[in-house]
């Protein structure tokens, strides 16, 4: 049986790991390569580097960080933030990433998803989405780190993403991100039933039981968190032990 994945995310700015609350008031901490290595030891199933300011300030991806990490961490690495072109995807994969996560650029230029999937394979194209509730069971997609409402219906968008060849969706809820009250279950349920590709839950993990809750209540394939792991409130191994005790299959 396929295991549910626990994914620590490292939000990186200028080569340093940071973590914001609702994208504002960003706090700075540690070295991304060392953090990734630590997560690897804890049993992380995958590691995501997200260059949080890239789409906003036009910075490139941190290829050196990826290159160094790939030399000592042997689990899949995903890199997001600032990936605008097929060449950016190629450079990132060549630096040692296994997947790229495209977000704002995919909304503005959906062809990037198709071109990326056609050239490199669906398996390495993850589409990141920031979405916010507008009414019951209705959400819209935001870009540029949750700054701009694109007035694009979330469900329409995820179906389109799947058709374009994306291999995975990383779904971040702006409403629950940084609030630490648990993942956005209604949003996750709606997206998981709209597509067949794997969905990663993101935004809102605040306590041990939140991960198991997402796996028990929705069909998501993985759950991602940043600050919770980063500030060492929980380890990946603690989260896995909790999931295992509730009958969820984890590595």
């Amino acid at each position: 049986m396929l295991a549910k994945r626990i994914i620590p995310c490292l939000d990186v700015r200028d080569g340093k790991v940071v973590k914001g609350v609702n994208f504002e008031g960003i706090k700075e901490v540690g070295d991304p390569v060392a953090c990734a290595y630590e997560y690897n030891l804890q049993g992380a199933d995958e590691i995501v580097f997200y260059d949080i300011t890239a789409s906003h300030e036009g910075r490139g991806v941190m290829l050196d960080v990826v290159r160094e990490t790939a030399k000592k961490v042997f689990v899949p690495l995903t890199v997001g933030g600032g990936i605008k072109t097929v060449d950016d995807i190629r450079d990132t994969l060549r630096a040692g990433a296994d997947k790229v996560s495209v977000n704002s650029q995919a909304v503005q230029n959906p062809q990037l998803i198709k071109d990326g999937a056609d050239i490199f394979g669906s398996q390495c194209i993850c589409v990141g989405i920031d979405a916010k509730k507008v009414a019951d069971n209705k959400w819209t997609v935001y870009i540029n780190g949750g700054r701009i409402d694109m007035q694009l219906d979330l469900i329409d968008w995820v179906k389109r993403i799947e058709q374009l060849g994306a291999g995975e969706i990383c779904l971040n809820s702006i409403d629950t991100d940084g609030v630490r009250g648990g993942f956005d279950l209604p949003m996750l349920k709606a997206v998981c039933s709209a597509v067949k590709i794997p969905v990663i839950a993101s935004g809102g993990a605040g306590k041990l039981g939140d991960f198991a809750e997402a796996f028990l209540e929705t069909d998501c394939s993985a759950a991602l968190a940043a600050s919770l792991f980063h500030f060492k409130e929980l380890t990946v191994s603690q989260v896995k032990a909790d999931c295992r005790s509730k009958g969820i299959i984890v590595r």
């Binding site: 295991a3 994945r5 042997f74 994969l93 040692g96 296994d98 490199f120 398996q123 299959i249």
Partner: protein, 204 residues
């Protein structure tokens, strides 16, 4: 020296990184002489079968690969494993290397998420030297939409995803194929690569 066949298909650097980490001398190469001189060969691969087969043919390495695979430890990874079979039906019928009997076709599981992506648990089908030192609770990392269909005698281990998905295959002699990515499977994957390297050293 372990030769990593560099024919323009896939994430060859992760395989190199893993071997470097293990302290094993290795070389990314598309040179026949390197494959002949190597103690063992790894054939990586990501992408579509017909395209990869075309790249391998264009590189002029098909005959050398077929010949060398029978002479020394040889490991195909992911698409590199699928290329070991006689043919594939990915997009179109396409001939493979024919080193192991069987074929490659779509994972037909309408109720499951495709690609089969993530960590799945190895179920051992028969002894395999690459599994030395592994426990019966080992997970490895997969990303694929097509799978091998082969005789039980070639199947070393499988994982359950709907039906059985071949995870490790072998000709019982020098040739091995892993559908999963050992270079992305944490400690378990490194152990499998280490076992492969050990075969090469023993064969010297």
């Amino acid at each position: 020296m372990i030769a990593i066949v560099d024919y323009g298909a896939g994430n060859i650097f992760s395989v190199k990184n893993a071997l470097d980490f293990l302290g094993v001398e290795n070389k990314l190469t598309a040179d026949k002489a390197d494959l002949e001189a190597a103690d063992a060969i790894i054939l990586p691969g990501v992408g579509a079968f017909p395209w990869a087969m075309k790249k391998l043919t264009e590189s002029g390495l098909v005959d050398t690969v077929k010949e060398q695979a029978k002479l020394k430890p040889f490991l195909g990874i992911c698409l590199g494993m699928q290329l070991l079979f006689e043919k594939s039906f990915e997009f179109e019928e396409c001939e493979g290397l024919g080193l192991i009997k069987g074929y490659v076709d779509k994972i037909n599981e309408p109720d499951l998420v495709i690609p089969h992506m993530g960590w799945n648990k190895l179920v051992y089908n028969q002894p395999c030297p690459l599994f030395d030192g592994l426990t019966d609770d080992e997970y490895v990392y997969f990303v694929h939409s097509y799978k091998a269909f082969c005789a039980d005698s070639a199947l070393c281990a499988y994982v359950e995803y709907g039906g059985k998905v071949p995870a490790m295959v072998s000709d019982g002699k020098t040739i091995f194929g892993s559908q999963f990515h050992p270079e992305k499977s944490g400690k378990t994957g490194l152990k499998i690569l280490e076992n492969f390297v050990k075969l090469a050293v023993e064969g010297k």
